[in-house]
Structure formats: structure tokens, C-alpha cells
């Protein structure tokens, strides 16, 4: 049973560019959440997707957008990259019907470096 997978593992982009990160949830899960983890900090919630819709959003600008596909996989898009967007981006999957007792399963993350 594959866990949460993310691609790519590492990415280097230049300021102003756009980036797309991908996530496949754990088998049987229907909800995907994205988190940003800056160096030395705890993960910060970006947004959550369920039934192909953004269900809730953290305190991130509109440059951050996402999508969920019918197979529950998800993408995170960041436009007009800033140096401050450099971070580890974590995807977490869960089963919405199991709230609140579920735990979110995290992928290995994508390390984004903006130069």
C-alpha cells in the first residue's frame, strides 16, 4: 500500500517564475491538505481540497492555488515566486468521514528553492 507521494523531490526556481507541485494521497483517502514548512518552523496550513473543491484556506496570498482531480490527487501552484516562498512543501492526505479522529498522513515533501 503506497503512502503519500509527492513530486518532484527538489526544485530550484527563479524569482517571478511559476511552479507546480504534485501529490498523490494514500490509497483510500479522499482529502488532501497542503502545508508550507519554512526552515526552523512548524508547518503552516495553506489549503485543503475535498471533492475537488477548496474547502478551507490558510493565510496565504492568491498566488497560491490548487486543484484536486477525480482520482483525489492534487496540485499546488505558486505564481510570481518570491524568495520567501523557499520552503519544504508538504502534502497530507486523510479521510474526511473519519473526522475528527483521523490522523493526516504526510508525504516526504518537495523542497523548493527560489533564487
Amino acid at each position: 500500500d503506497a503512502g503519500v507521494t509527492q513530486s518532484p523531490t527538489h526544485l530550484i526556481k527563479t524569482r517571478g517564475q511559476q511552479v507546480t507541485l504534485r501529490c498523490s494521497p494514500k490509497s483510500g483517502h479522499d482529502t488532501v491538505s497542503w502545508y508550507q514548512q519554512a526552515l526552523g518552523q512548524g508547518p503552516q496550513f495553506i489549503f485543503q481540497y475535498y471533492e475537488e473543491e477548496e474547502r478551507q484556506r490558510g493565510n496565504f496570498p492568491d498566488r497560491f492555488s490548487g486543484h484536486q482531480f477525480p482520482n483525489y490527487s492534487s496540485e499546488l501552484n505558486v505564481n510570481a515566486l518570491l524568495l520567501g516562498d523557499s520552503a519544504l512543501y508538504l502534502c497530507a492526505s486523510s479521510l474526511m468521514s473519519a473526522l475528527p479522529s483521523y490522523e493526516q498522513y504526510f508525504g516526504p515533501g518537495t523542497r523548493l528553492t527560489v533564487t
Binding site: Q6, T31, S33, P43, Q44, M96, L99, Q104, F106
Partner: protein
């Protein structure tokens, strides 16, 4: 607003000694609390959770956590530390009213020396 605090940036323990990693929380309503561990250049791994029931929760790799409602704490413990326990530990609270958003503390780096 929901929040979590981990008052110690780093905890140092000798192998074989008991360890405690502290966490306090602030929530409105019932607290749903989690501990995760992160090894270098890796994602987060779930350790344990408190949803309801017994105040002492047992989790993976011999870890346990004690939920204390009066002190609003959820400290992570292990009776005998291993060098391999050295990692970054995060406490988190589930913001249930918003569909399952996790709010994390800043993390505590645990270092276990032989």
C-alpha cells in the same frame, strides 16, 4: 483561536534515560491533539493522538503522551530514550470546525546522546 506552544526549542537526553517533550494548547471546545516526528529531509510521521477517553495515550515506537485538561498540556514521553529517537518533534491541534486543519507548534529538537 486554536494554538499550540512548545516551550523548548531543544531537549537533550542521555540514552536510556526518560524523555519528555512539552506541549501546551489553547482551544475552544474539545481538543484533538497529535504528535508528529520529522527526521532530517523527511516528511512528518504520525506518533499518536488524543481524541477522547484515557488521558494516557500510547503510540508508535514506545512513545506515549499524557493529556492534562486542567493544565492544557499534552506532553510526549518515553521511558527509555534511544539515539535513534533524535529528531524534530511537533505537537499539533486539529481545528475541527474548519474541516481538519492542523495547527502546529514550532517544534522541539530532541537530541539523544549515547
Amino acid at each position: 483561536a486554536q494554538s499550540v506552544a512548545q516551550p523548548e526549542d531543544q531537549v537533550n537526553v542521555a540514552e536510556g534515560n526518560p524523555l519528555t517533550v512539552k506541549c501546551t494548547y489553547s482551544v475552544s471546545g474539545n481538543p484533538y491533539l497529535f504528535w508528529y516526528v520529522q527526521y532530517p529531509n523527511r516528511g512528518l510521521q504520525f506518533l499518536l493522538k488524543y481524541i477522547t477517553g484515557d488521558n494516557l495515550v500510547k503510540g508508535s515506537y514506545g512513545f506515549e503522551a499524557e493529556f492534562n485538561k486542567s493544565q492544557t498540556s499534552f506532553h510526549l514521553k518515553k521511558p527509555s530514550a534511544l539515539v535513534s529517537d533524535s529528531a524534530l518533534y511537533f505537537c499539533a491541534v486539529l481545528h475541527y470546525n474548519q474541516g481538519g486543519k492542523l495547527i502546529f507548534g514550532q517544534g522541539t529538537e530532541l537530541s539523544v546522546k549515547p
